[in-house]
């Protein structure tokens, strides 16, 4: 104690590195007065494997199994990013069908990521029925992934030049079935979560951020759209065949946890529509334009920045090649690099300790993006 008999008002809390409400080990040091947080400091680093260093040790094609493990709840953006970046550097053009398949895989991955997001945020608020429902329903989508790519989570399916295998036969109808089932379930989810007075009381007006502050502080993706700003990489910086697909970008104006959750909820519906459009209009034809011999393929020197709209925000790769058989440098710019560090630190100030975990989940922070 500090000598004088002053009553200690401020406490230090350590949240994490167990799962305080996010997918992955992450910890926050809080200084709070009683229940109200005065200051927060994010402590990442528990999941640092030195991805970028390891990718410089492997040939171009050998990095394909590696990239999907960067952000595990939403693996496909990483695979598509790496493939698109390498294709752009090497000037390797991708067959039409492969681009449509990639869009389908991206949107399916977004649906399953949002389902686990909604399950997570309601779990953090003590509403345990929702994670049981949503993780269970998400599993149907994982079965479709298992049929298409051979693995539930680590798909290793998109590779530079296209995709590794074509759709198995009978896959479209089973996928449509799953999408109908999830779409039918959405009304149940809405009533379970958004109509729930406890959820509304705990999330409306909590963890709000000001739209201009959000743009300037690098908030991207659904978190930005929750502040009324219509910014979506699929429309701003179109890639693959998104410019041939009609879909709206839902926006909310609440800028708080409720609207962030609502954005994800509506995006599930949009993604289901996109996947249906893709299934209707997918052309026949080759699905892979083989790159060179995996042990000798040299990508011409150059650098490129590619970005994709992942379920957590704008995911970008900056790939540099010096003309060798291995990448010279790959910089992974995850969306949580801003959400997880100084956005959460500013957002938590003034909130109550019990809201730390739900707020972190509402921003959908994925610590492996920060640590790589």
């Amino acid at each position: 104690m500090n000598g004088k008999n002053e009553i200690i008002r401020e406490f230090e809390y350590f949240i994490g590195p167990q799962h305080p409400g996010i997918t992955g080990n992450f910890s926050i040091k809080l200084k709070a007065k009683g229940d109200v947080i005065l200051e927060a400091e994010a402590r990442p680093g528990y999941l640092h494997r030195g991805f970028e260093k390891l990718m410089e040790q492997r040939h171009w094609i050998k990095n394909v199994p590696m990239v999907c493990r960067i952000c595990v709840p939403d693996p496909d953006p990483n695979e598509v990013l790496y493939a698109m970046g390498v294709e752009e550097l090497a000037g390797l053009e991708v067959p039409e069908r492969a681009q449509w398949i990639r869009v389908m895989v991206l949107e399916m991955s977004r649906i399953q990521a949002h389902l686990s997001y909604l399950g997570g945020i309601s779990g953090a608020l003590g509403l345990y029925t929702a994670p049981q429902w949503m993780t269970g329903d998400r599993d149907y989508l994982l079965d479709r992934f298992e049929e298409l790519t051979g693995a539930r989570v680590y798909h290793i399916y998109t590779t530079p030049g296209g995709v590794r295998r074509d759709l198995p036969e009978g896959f479209e109808d089973r996928l449509r079935e799953t999408l109908d089932y999830i779409e039918k379930r959405l009304t149940d989810y809405y009533r379970l979560i958004f109509d729930n007075p406890v959820f509304q009381k705990r999330t409306i007006g909590v963890g709000t951020m000001d739209p201009d502050w959000a743009i300037e502080n690098g908030v991207t993706g659904p978190n930005l759209r929750a502040c009324g700003i219509k910014a979506d990489v699929r429309i701003d910086d179109p890639y693959l065949v998104y410019d041939q697909i009609e879909f709206e970008v839902p926006t909310e104006t609440g800028c708080d946890m409720f609207s962030r959750a609502m954005i994800r909820f509506q995006e599930i519906q949009q993604s289901i529509n996109i996947v249906r459009q893709v299934l209707d209009r997918m052309p026949k034809g080759p699905f892979l334009n083989k790159p060179g011999n995996p042990l000798m393929w040299r990508v011409p020197a150059g650098d490129v920045y590619v970005r994709v709209e992942s379920s957590k925000g704008e995911f970008g790769y900056y790939i540099v090649s010096d003309g060798g058989v291995k990448p010279y440098r790959v910089h992974v710019r995850g969306p949580s690099m801003t959400h997880g560090i100084h956005v959460i630190e500013t957002l938590l100030v003034g909130q109550r300790v019990a809201d730390v975990s739900p707020i972190m989940f509402s921003l959908d922070i994925c610590p492996p993006d920060i640590d790589r």
């Binding site: 640092h48 599993d139 539930r152």
Partner: protein
């Protein structure tokens, strides 16, 4: 001090049927835990539920690679768990480094640092494999087969020495002066290893020039 023995018979059956899993899933394998815990595969049928604090948990799941930073917290949590306690290693990373075999920040062989009772193969093991692992764990506990924590207590010196090689164990061990002693003993070997490990590497364009030609 009588030699600790794993529970058997009725006590073992009771212990096996109500394992509480410490909610500390390391590495990228944690993504397969929610489906196993929730309605689709539902491991609560076996009485296994997540538990927030190590004080009430008796099953520690290492579900993937361990960075040095996480290893420190895992060891502290493990040492705080009451006995009998069990550790299950998931996936390739806990056995021989897995995909990150050449990373400078992840530990490669988990059983140098913690006594692992059971390994589940896969990268990442699927819920079917996890549930199969749990049923085998429950059978084993009933028969009193798993005595990892006893191994840890008896060879504490061995484990602490290995841990000290990769991390500063003084702040992260229950037994402080043992940690202090081993930490000082190991400094010399650790510094030598570090020197050998950080020799400057000359970069040349990544080419694949084959060797094996006769001179």
């Amino acid at each position: 001090m009588t030699k600790a023995k794993p529970p058997k018979g009725l006590k073992g059956w009771a212990q096996g049927r109500s394992l509480w899993m410490l909610h500390f899933c390391t590495g990228c394998g944690a993504i397969e835990m929610p489906p196993t815990m929730t309605s689709r595969y539902d491991m609560e049928r076996f009485g296994i539920t997540p538990m927030a604090t190590p004080r009430q948990a008796d099953l520690l799941l290492i579900t993937g690679y361990l960075t040095v930073k996480t290893l420190k917290r895992v060891i502290r949590s493990y040492e705080q768990m009451p006995e009998p306690k069990y550790v299950v290693g998931f996936g390739s990373c806990t056995v021989n480094g897995g995909m990150y075999w050449d990373s400078y920040n992840t530990i490669k062989r988990l059983d140098l640092y913690l006594p692992i009772d059971l390994y589940i193969a896969g990268c990442m093991p699927r819920p079917e494999a996890i549930i199969d692992g749990f049923t085998e764990l429950i059978e084993g506990i009933k028969k009193g087969k798993f005595d990892g924590w006893i191994r840890y207590k008896e060879n504490l010196e061995y484990y602490k020495r290995n841990q000290a090689m990769v991390m500063d164990i003084r702040k992260w061990s229950l037994d402080a002066e043992l940690a202090e002693r081993i930490w000082n003993e190991v400094q010399e070997e650790r510094r030598k290893r570090f020197e050998r490990a950080t020799v400057k590497h000359v970069y040349e364009l990544a080419e694949r020039i084959p060797e094996g030609l006769p001179k």
